[in-house]
């Protein structure tokens, strides 16, 4: 027995869903989707659940994460109901549901709040640089320290509980029985999907998009590793320096292409980009670019200029670590991989 | 050919232009089969059939006569059923007088879409006639 909640649609619209109510349930979206299978049929099912407002079913569903948004369903939707964008919005909605702090939802739904958050963090960074008297050495040192603390804190305090909540909503609450050994055996799934997005290869659109994304993930993770573990800005090791250059260059080249297509809004996937999507790629781009520049200025010994550049870099970094990673789009990196893992558990 | 025809009795059907003809036509349209020795003479209304015609048909060698009556659908008015019934009764008497088995005359209301019922009637009538006349 299910009860309809017609108000749910309005809530979902705040996460960017457009016109999904127009769906007349022909199933064309499911039929054109190359990832949809007999066992896992979507997106129409999600469109239907959303139209009826069956929230519990949506929260328990992993299907939104199984979509990699090639846009075919939206391109061919006879009612122009945008199933692809609905799936995207559901991912934002679910992200907000998983987040115990509730901040994700706020940031997704409100651009002013997002901007305020960015300003607030900027103010914090400025307060810090003023407190250390604009000394580059101290800033660099603290920046490195901050990265390590932030990663640990965000991971333990925000992301881990969120993953547990996701597990609760999708496995525990719907009463799916999973033997413990299956948890262990299926682990591989988690990492494969986390690092490769293997599933997206099944998408019908060009494989280049998958490749770009793959490179970006590897580049980003390597850059993170280089700066945090190898202390790129502080390192004298030539290999580390070059590695950092290469990685940051990769990040910023790929993101340039991403930003470009988001701006043009030509492809189906980017027609309905939300601020959160744009923040994510722009900040990624800025991180790559500023990191590259900061190291370059260090190597060229343009240190006075570098102060300001580093403040910029630090601001981007802090905003990234405190806003985008825990509450923003970055989380899809985790949720998607876990969704694949959980899906494997459920199967 | 004679062999095939032996399997079916010769039946003369009086059908009506507006009501039962369409049903018989539709039986053909739907490829509902009945014996090919069923012949139809179409007239405006079943209450216009003269008993003498029916008797003549037996005389000439028809095994059976079937009146596909308009029933209550008759375009000429509701008295048709009663009148057709009356003339059938009259004919039955005349048949008895002449020693023709009255069961060789049958009547049923065939409405304009009663194709299936027409075909059923033909089949059972045919079986009956074969059993009683050609056995």
């Amino acid at each position: 027995m299910a009860k309809i909640n017609p108000k749910f649609g309005k809530e979902l619209n705040k996460y960017g869903a457009v016109n999904f109510n127009a769906c007349y349930n022909c199933g064309n979206c499911t039929a054109v989707c190359s990832l949809s299978t007999e066992e896992d049929s979507f997106p129409r099912e999600m469109v239907r659940l959303s139209a009826l407002g069956l929230e519990d079913d949506i929260k328990a569903s992993l299907k939104p994460w199984e979509c990699y948004y090639c846009g075919e369903c939206s391109t061919h939707c006879p009612q122009e109901a945008n199933p692809g964008e609905l799936m995207m919005s559901l991912r934002r909605y679910l992200t907000a549901q998983y987040d115990w702090t509730g901040l994700s939802g706020l940031l997704y739904k409100s651009l002013p709040i997002s901007i305020a958050a960015f300003i607030l963090t900027f103010v914090g960074v400025m307060a810090f640089v003023i407190s250390v008297g604009f000394e580059l050495e101290k800033m660099l040192h603290f920046g490195h320290l901050f990265e390590m603390i932030a990663i640990g804190t965000v991971g333990l305090v925000i992301l881990l509980p969120n993953i547990i909540k996701m597990w609760y909503l999708t496995i525990l609450k719907p009463k799916v029985k999973v033997p413990f050994m299956k948890y262990v055996k299926s682990m591989g799934e988690l990492f494969i999907h986390m690092f490769t997005q293997k599933r997206a290869l099944g998408c019908d659109d060009n494989q280049f998009r998958w490749f770009e994304h793959f490179i970006l993930v590897i580049g980003y993770l390597s850059l993170l590793f280089t700066t945090v573990a190898l202390d790129w800005f502080g390192s004298e090791n030539l290999f580390v320096i070059i590695l950092g250059y290469v990685m940051s260059a990769i990040v910023f080249v790929v993101t340039v292409d991403f930003v470009g297509s988001r701006m043009k809004k030509q492809k189906e996937v980017s027609k309905h980009s939300q601020p959160s999507d744009i923040f994510f790629v722009v900040w990624l781009f800025l991180m790559g670019l500023t990191a590259f520049m900061v190291r370059l200025f260090i190597d060229l010994e343009i240190l006075e200029m570098n102060k300001w550049l580093y403040i910029f870099h630090l601001t981007v970094l802090v905003q990234w670590a405190l806003i985008i990673v825990p509450f923003g789009k970055w989380t899809h990196f985790l949720y998607r991989s876990f969704a694949m893992y959980f899906a494997k558990l459920k199967s | 050919m004679a062999d095939i025809n032996k399997k079916s009795a010769k039946i003369l059907v009086f059908s009506t232009e507006k009501i039962s003809d369409p049903a018989i036509d539709m039986a053909g349209l739907l490829k509902l089969h009945y014996p090919p020795t069923v012949y139809t003479i179409s007239i405006p209304c079943s209450s216009g059939i003269k008993p003498s015609w029916i008797l003549y048909a037996y005389e000439k060698g028809f095994d059976g006569v079937f009146i596909a009556a308009d029933g209550s659908d008759c375009v000429y008015g509701e008295s048709c059923t009663e009148k057709t019934g009356h003339l059938v009764g009259k004919t039955h008497n005349l048949m008895k007088e002449r020693g023709v088995e009255p069961a060789r005359l049958r009547m049923a209301a065939i409405c304009s879409v009663c194709s299936e019922s027409f075909v059923k009637q033909m089949r059972t009538f045919n079986e009956y006639l074969l059993k009683t006349l050609h056995a």
Binding site: Y24, N25, C26, G27, N28, C29, T30, A31, V32, C33, S36, T37, E38, S41, R44, E45, T75, H76, C77, P78, Q79, E80 | L29, K31
Partner: protein, 433 residues
């Protein structure tokens, strides 16, 4: 050679000699008005004359069209111009229009042709027959189709090699390659637009593979395969001549689909598909016929019963729009769809697929009128100025519309619409007499 422009007067000009235009012309002619009926094809009868049987009564289309067509052809008050197109129409007075009509040369004098088909036999050329929707060939000297009216030969000049063989065998010397296009300037008092519709071009949906996969055909092609004058003399797949035994109908191809620019329902495809399914069950008793639909729209008199009858005969109805079709080795086709009843993605293999293509407007009609504005509706059909109370009136006083020129409709509705257009036209003619 100089062509004299011919001036002629009529009471009414009816553009399009399909079932709606024909009915309108007959109604007008029967009340004593002189009608000019213009059609761009070689024969009158429009699309209906090409059909096999018609729903829901399963009368053969020819049996209904031919008596109308011969009545039209013989009517003393009707003049027919085939292979003719209206170039422009100018309103020159309160109730007078001047229409410029151009007639393409047929290269055959219709009056002299006895349709003996000797020219057809003699012609060495073979091209795809447009009246069989390309399923089979025809000659360059040809009679359009067996129930065409006028039933006279024509020369397809684009494909003719001008060998002269046809001329040599013609017993009545009716073939004449010196024919020239003719231009007529016609004075008429009223105009009825009955230009009909086009069928959606299935090639605009590449995911269904029409044109690429040879065993994917349109419903109009199947209509020909089922018609008495059918191209293969039985139902075969055009890909390899196999008798199909697992046939699929894909509904809503190019209708109810905003992504291809046609959001409205074509209103006839459900029924013609059900009809064809019934005919196929008759023609190929062993065949499996499946109809993939979104909603079955059997709304007219006797339609729902016809749908139920098809179900009773064993036609499979599956709720779900086909997403993609892919071809397998050997020419069979895989259809991907979501079975809505189950909520599951499914794939089904069929050996022949029929795309039930929708109705799209016949565009360009508004351009006929040079000094008046013929309004179109938002879907590019001829606009109705008073849609509910006077459905046959257009934005131009004295110009009326009949049949599918205003939007999709079935044959009975087209005929009623033609009745309405003729009623308005007669009233207009009486008022302005």
């Amino acid at each position: 050679m100089e062509n004299p422009i011919k001036n002629i007067s009529y009471d009414a000009l009816v553009i399009g000699a399909g079932i709606a235009g024909g009915e309108t012309a007959l109604n007008l002619a029967n009340t004593g008005y002189k009608v000019l009926l213009v059609d761009k094809e070689l024969s009158v009868g429009g699309k209906m004359i090409m059909l096999s049987k018609v729903f829901p009564t399963l009368d053969c289309a020819a049996c209904i069209t031919t008596p109308k067509v011969s009545e039209i052809s013989r009517h003393p008050n009707i003049t027919i111009f085939t292979s003719s197109e209206v170039a422009n129409i100018r309103k020159v007075g309160d109730n007078e229009f001047v229409a410029k009509v151009t007639t393409k040369p047929r290269y055959v004098h219709i009056a002299d042709c006895t349709s003996c088909q000797l020219c057809e036999k003699a012609c060495p050329v073979n091209v795809r027959d447009q009246y069989q929707f390309g399923l089979v060939g025809r000659k360059a000297a040809f009679i359009p189709f067996s129930i065409a009216s006028p039933k006279a030969a024509a020369i397809d000049i684009d494909n003719c090699t001008l060998c002269g063989a046809c001329e040599r065998v013609c017993p009545t010397n009716c073939i004449d390659f010196t024919m020239q296009p003719e231009v007529f300037e016609l004075h008429v008092r009223t105009v009825v637009v009955a230009t009909g519709f086009n069928l959606f071009d299935a090639e605009k949906m590449p995911r269904y593979g029409y044109g690429k996969y040879k065993n994917v055909i349109t419903a109009m092609q199947m209509e020909r395969e089922l018609a008495p004058t059918r191209p293969f003399n039985t139902v075969l797949r055009p890909g390899d001549g196999k008798v199909p035994d697992k046939i699929a109908y894909v509904l809503c191809v190019g209708s109810r689909d905003a992504s291809v620019g046609n959001p409205i329902c074509s209103q006839i495809c459900c029924m013609y598909s059900i009809k064809q399914a019934q005919l196929l069950m008759g023609a190929l008793p062993m065949a499996d016929v499946t109809i993939y639909y979104i909603n079955i729209r059997s709304f007219g008199k006797g339609f729902e019963e016809f749908y139920q009858q098809a179900k009773g005969m064993g036609v499979n109805f599956v709720k779900g729009k086909i997403g993609r079709i892919t071809e397998k080795e050997g020419g069979n086709l895989m259809l991907r769809y979501e079975d809505i009843n189950e909520g599951k993605l499914q794939e089904a293999e069929h050996d022949m697929v029929i795309l039930s293509t929708g109705v799209v407007p016949n565009t360009g009609i508004d351009k006929f009128f040079v000094n008046e504005n013929l309004m179109l509706d938002q879907f590019n059909y001829v606009g109705q100025s008073d849609m509910l109370a006077s459905p046959a009136k257009t934005s131009i006083d004295g110009v009326f519309v009949a049949g599918t020129a205003t939007g999709p409709m079935d044959i009975p509705d087209s005929i009623l619409s033609a009745g309405a257009a003729s009623s308005e036209a007669i009233s207009y003619l009486i008022k302005h007499s």
